[in-house]
């Protein structure tokens, strides 16, 4: 039972990180129909910011907001430089553009920082663990769960109460009509990228605090998972992205923990098999987006 609870905490922590990443993908996709595979590189940028802050002797407390700022800024620049020129192109064009951005950034990291993995100083408080009700729980796991909840609540408040948040939901549903209301396309899209950058930054801090290292390809695997999570939840649906992220986290952790040893090498195929099964039953995902019909102008 203890093991089960322990793994459930782990599942929430991992699922939360996937949820934040999937949410970042979904926010951008819902507004402009772009699946941004360079989302992972936003994580990597936040990771390197943490690393350089450590090298410069900046305390972790200040490094975290700097890392978030870096990934947000990078996301906004990415949109301005790479995605705005192809904004009205087909989904495929935008997808390929995002791959190009990802690869260019990876090569830049490899050439100007290092091909190898770099250590990141994580404060002892975070790499430690605490005892709750007889369970030893890593502080980083708790941090992940709390950060995820805080981010989800903040985003929900923003989208449901703030004028600009409501405008983003309107634009996600029908971009052309939102523009007719006087909602500026550039503002909404830049806002979506800033939010996705912020979410990627939080996810990166959680990811790095588990591993205490950063490398040029760091963002690839988690974002691939987040992409699966976003599809699982229903591409373009924000609630779906969160649900998909948590479900994928649970599938991965429980399989790793409870699958018999002789089946462990089939863990990933089994996990993805479950994903496929869910999609066979619900082809549009767990909580599909209300409107994929809205034309993007």
């Amino acid at each position: 039972m203890d093991l089960f609870l322990q793994q459930t905490v782990n599942a929430f922590a991992l699922g939360g990180t996937y949820a934040l990443l999937a949410l970042g993908l979904a926010v951008v996709f819902s507004i402009m129909g772009l699946i941004n595979f360079a989302h992972g590189e936003l994580m990597t940028i936040a990771g390197y910011t943490l690393m350089y802050c450590g090298l410069a002797g900046i305390s972790f407390v200040f490094a975290v907001p700097l890392a978030l700022l870096a990934s947000m800024l990078a996301a906004v620049l990415m949109e301005r430089i790479a995605f705005r020129p192809v904004r009205n192109s087909s989904g495929a064009t935008m997808l390929v553009t995002s791959f190009a951005v990802a690869m260019i950034l990876q090569v830049l990291f490899q050439n100007f920082i290092s091909v190898r993995s770099q250590a990141v100083n994580i404060p002892d408080v975070i790499s430690g663990s605490i005892l709750i009700g007889g369970m030893v729980i890593g502080t980083n796991k708790l941090l992940a769960i709390v950060s995820t909840i805080v981010m989800l609540v903040l985003l929900d408040r923003f989208l449901s109460k703030q004028k600009y948040g409501i405008a983003m939901r309107a634009a996600a549903e029908d971009f052309a009509v939102a523009r007719l209301m006087g909602i500026r396309a550039n503002t909404v899209i830049a806002g979506a990228f800033a939010i996705s950058g912020l979410l990627a930054g939080v996810a990166a801090i959680l990811w790095v605090s588990q591993r205490a290292s950063v490398d040029p390809l760091m963002g690839f695997t988690p974002v691939l998972k987040a992409f699966i999570a976003a599809i699982l939840g229903g591409l373009g649906s924000l609630r779906g992205a969160v649900a998909g992220g948590f479900l994928l986290g649970f599938i991965e952790i429980y399989l790793a923990a409870f699958l018999p040893a002789e089946l462990q090498e089939f863990r990933d195929p089994i996990g993805l098999g479950i994903v496929v099964l869910v999609l066979v039953m619900r082809p549009n995902g767990l909580l599909p987006a209300a409107s994929l019909k809205a034309e993007k102008v």
Partner: protein, 239 residues
């Protein structure tokens, strides 16, 4: 009367090699209701969408008051005093009625002006006040049309463009909607309405332009057009 509120000069809209609108000219005077009529594919919606910048104008000019708004970015229009209630209503179904209206007033800054806009729209459409917290997607077709018009009114436009306001609605509701268009016009809103429901449109309009194959086939006072018996057969795809 001075210069017309809206002047469209040699408007040309193309989708690739397809010519949707072929050099049309028309004016809308301050305070008028003008109807754009025509069969499916005559170029009515393309014209409206070009006016508001949702589709690019290939050549020609659109002048609104003293502004050349040819190929304007759509988000600039409410600030100039023009809004469009689009074809098929296109309310934000996942937003509440109140949120839809709030988006209509997106560009307004003055709290008094915003409050006045709410009062006006709730006054015109009491049903929207009643259903303000309901998701717009759960409204009936007629209520959604009212919301679409109400949303377009929230920015206090001088000119309202209506694209097929009767589409898919029951006759009784259509009458209500057209009654409302007249009321708005009495309040001083200039209206350009695109319609397939010719008799209803000619009933409320001052003037009308009939489009065929992307050109103005005929135009004139609404009453005269209503009397011309061959209008249906000639331009509107039979009776």
């Amino acid at each position: 009367m001075g210069q017309p509120l809206l002047q469209v000069r040699s408007l040309d809209v193309r989708y690739g090699a397809v010519q949707a609108v072929d050099g049309i000219n028309f004016d809308v005077e301050q305070g008028e209701i003008v109807a754009l009529l025509g069969a499916n594919g005559a170029g009515k919606s393309s014209t409206l969408n070009a006016l508001v910048g949702l589709v690019p104008t290939f050549s020609g000019e659109v002048i609104f008051e003293d502004n050349n708004i040819t190929n304007i970015r759509p988000e600039m229009l409410p600030g100039l005093g023009m809004t469009l209630s689009p074809e098929g209503r296109r309310v934000f179904g996942t937003l509440s009625v109140a949120e839809n209206l709030q988006m209509g007033a997106f560009g307004l800054r003055d709290p008094n002006e915003i409050a006045a806009a709410w009062d006006r729209v709730f006054d015109l459409f009491p049903i929207l006040a009643e259903r303000r917290n309901q998701f717009a997607g759960t409204l009936s077709g007629g209520q959604q049309q009212m919301l679409a018009v109400g949303r377009a009114l929230m920015s206090n436009p001088k000119m309202l463009l209506l694209d097929e306001p009767s589409l898919g609605l029951a006759p009784k509701i259509i009458e209500q909607i057209f009654e409302l268009i007249k009321t708005l016009n009495d309040q001083g809103v200039t209206i350009l309405v695109v319609e397939q429901n010719v008799s209803m449109a000619l009933d409320i309009a001052h003037r009308a332009y009939v489009l065929a194959n992307g050109t103005v086939a005929t135009s004139g006072a609404a009453e005269e057009l209503a009397e011309s018996s061959n209008l249906q057969n000639a331009y509107l795809g039979g009776a």
